[in-house]
């Protein structure tokens, strides 16, 4: 499966916080224009992986390669940091704290453009307009402060900000989890449109299997820092092999679903706590 054309390749990635292992030997690749989902519950390490890829955390083991360049170690210069910013970008979960409350969308996007390009004001203005139109914000919304915008509108601003750097990979860290169902649908459609138009690849971090089905071609299931199953999304969700994936799948409410009590042992040495990876592909 190693893909030399991969736009993102993660191999043997690990992260320990003191004695606690948050991420343990995780490997995956994303092809150009592809989309991969990392599925897991709390404590699975999925957010830590995202933070390591964008450089907010430092891996304790393994390698991360994006657009052919290694980024397992922190960037050494400001130029390097900015270059990395043009390779991988991220949209966070909480629309209420991921924007500077004192800046409008226009100002936010403009700042990013000034960071990466030495363009004159006119060209920047045009590009800001292009981006706000791409994410579906009108003129009033682009000039408003975040507190005048709804959660869905703020996420659009966050997406536009991320795209302003023209990244090859966009990490969506539970980016629609905090949105109302009807707004979530709009943003999911928007993300699908953006991927078609710009050819960006997605790394989707999510606990929501339906969202994963909608947006990701490939899926990796994570539990307590380890990969337990991987494969094309359809296969992993329709025909799960690992116990944990099956349990996850069975826990999702759908028409006709009834929750049943299961025996959750609390002893850590019970076999159901062991992770043994199974592949669906």
């Amino acid at each position: 499966m190693p893909d030399s054309n991969a736009v993102l390749a993660v191999a043997g990635l690990g992260k320990k916080f003191g004695d606690f292992t948050a991420v343990d030997n995780v490997s995956f690749t994303i092809a150009p224009r592809g989309s991969l989902a990392i599925v897991g519950e709390s404590g699975s390490g999925k957010t830590t992986i995202a933070r390591m890829i964008v450089g907010l955390e430092r891996p304790t083991g393994g390698t991360i390669t994006a657009c052919g360049a290694d980024r397992s170690r922190p960037a050494r210069s400001r130029k390097d940091r900015r270059r990395r910013g043009r390779e991988v970008q991220i949209v966070f979960q909480d629309p209420y704290t991921s924007l500077d409350p004192r800046q409008s969308a226009t100002e936010t996007i403009d700042e990013v453009l000034r960071l990466h390009h030495g363009w004159p004001a006119g060209r920047r203005r045009d590009r800001v307009t292009e981006l706000t139109e791409l994410v579906g914000l009108d003129e009033r919304q682009s000039r408003a402060l975040p507190r005048a915008l709804s959660g869905g509108q703020r996420q659009r601003v966050a997406i536009a900000r991320a795209l302003a750097a023209e990244p090859r990979i966009l990490i969506l860290d539970e980016s629609v989890a905090a949105l109302d169902v009807s707004i979530q649908a709009q943003v999911l459609n928007l993300l699908a449109d953006i991927r078609e138009e710009t050819g960006v690849s997605y790394l989707l971090i999510s606990h929501d299997l339906a969202v994963v089905r909608q947006l990701a071609d490939q899926t990796v299931v994570l539990r307590r820092g380890q990969v337990v199953e991987r494969g094309p999304t359809g296969q992993v969700l329709d025909d799960p092999r690992h116990e944990y994936t099956k349990r996850l799948r069975a826990s999702v409410p759908r028409p006709g679903w009834k929750p049943t009590r299961q025996f959750f042992p609390s002893r850590p040495d019970h076999p159901s706590h062991q992770n043994q990876e199974t592949t669906s592909s």
Partner: protein, 290 residues
């Protein structure tokens, strides 16, 4: 809860000072008026003084309010009102310098240690804790001993004493901003720490900084007045409210309290005004956070 404000209801831009002031209520606005009056006196005092504030005339010492002399004469026969007006500048400039110095130094330390976190934060915090142990007046006395008495030495000493307090108060707010996802987003974009701190973190701390500076002006005024009262700050014959209290102190017991009390009232009024305004601004800063 996506509760967007409908169109037109207010994509309120940067808070204008006037609107800000109106939100502090009647007490806040009254305080602002007092402060404005004191500032006006500081700038234009010597011009407004009806009589010469510096010329002594011992034959008129302690004479009460008569003729055009609304507050009478002080212990050296100088017009009290003129002296108050002329003394405003030294009484206000000192605290201003203290606030500017201590807030700047404190803010830099707070933001720097919040940004770096880890070891830097621990070392700076410990260093500040040590400095915290020295009360302002003690440092002023030390400074006077080493550098000689005077307003500049006293102001610097007080700034050093206040700085750890400022740093501690601002550090909490700086840490909170530092931990917000919008800061992380800028880091991922490749923005430098310096530009994130200056363009994003500090501006978002502004309501707290302004509130803190306002309250501190009041404290600095009291401390500097006390230092001048002790003879270690502004030196006579330079007019200064704190000095006027000590100069005219003997008159209080002899039945001529007006000069000393008048100076005291000036100090108290301005300090209370700064306290009230500062606390209102602080409340507003806290409310805006939530």
């Amino acid at each position: 809860m996506s509760a967007a404000i409908p169109l037109g209801a207010g994509a309120a831009r940067r808070s204008r000072p006037v609107a800000l002031l109106r939100q502090t209520g009647a007490a806040g606005m009254a305080s602002a008026a007092v402060i404005a009056a004191a500032t006006f006196a500081a700038i234009f005092g010597p011009l407004l003084a009806p009589y010469n504030p510096d010329l002594p005339n011992l034959s008129l010492a302690w004479v009460g309010p008569v003729g055009g002399h609304l507050l009478g004469y002080d212990f050296q026969g100088r017009d009290v009102l003129s002296r108050l007006l002329a003394g405003a500048i030294s009484s206000m400039a000192g605290p201003l310098a203290v606030v500017i110095l201590s807030m700047s130094a404190g803010a830099v330390l707070a933001v720097a240690s919040a940004w770096r976190r880890g070891a830097t934060d621990a070392v700076v915090s410990s260093g500040l804790d040590i400095l915290f142990a020295f009360p302002g007046i003690l440092l002023a006395v030390l400074a006077a001993t080493v550098f000689g008495a005077g307003l500049i030495a006293a102001a610097i000493a007080l700034s050093v004493a206040y700085m750890p307090y400022v740093a501690r108060v601002l550090r909490g707010s700086a840490l909170k901003e530092r931990g917000q996802p919008y800061v992380a987003a800028l880091e991922v974009q490749g923005a430098s720490g310096m530009s994130i701190c200056l363009r994003h973190i500090v501006p978002n701390m502004m309501p707290l900084i302004v509130a803190q500076a306002t309250i501190m002006f009041g404290w600095a005024m009291v401390d500097l007045a006390a230092i001048s009262f002790l003879g270690l700050g502004v030196q006579p014959p330079t007019p200064n409210w704190g000095v006027m209290i000590s100069e005219n102190e003997v008159g209080v017991l002899q039945g001529y309290p007006l000069p000393a009390i008048a100076a005291g009232v000036c100090i108290v009024a301005v300090v209370i005004a700064f306290n009230i305004l500062g606390e209102r601004l602080y409340e507003r800063a806290q409310a805006a956070r939530s």
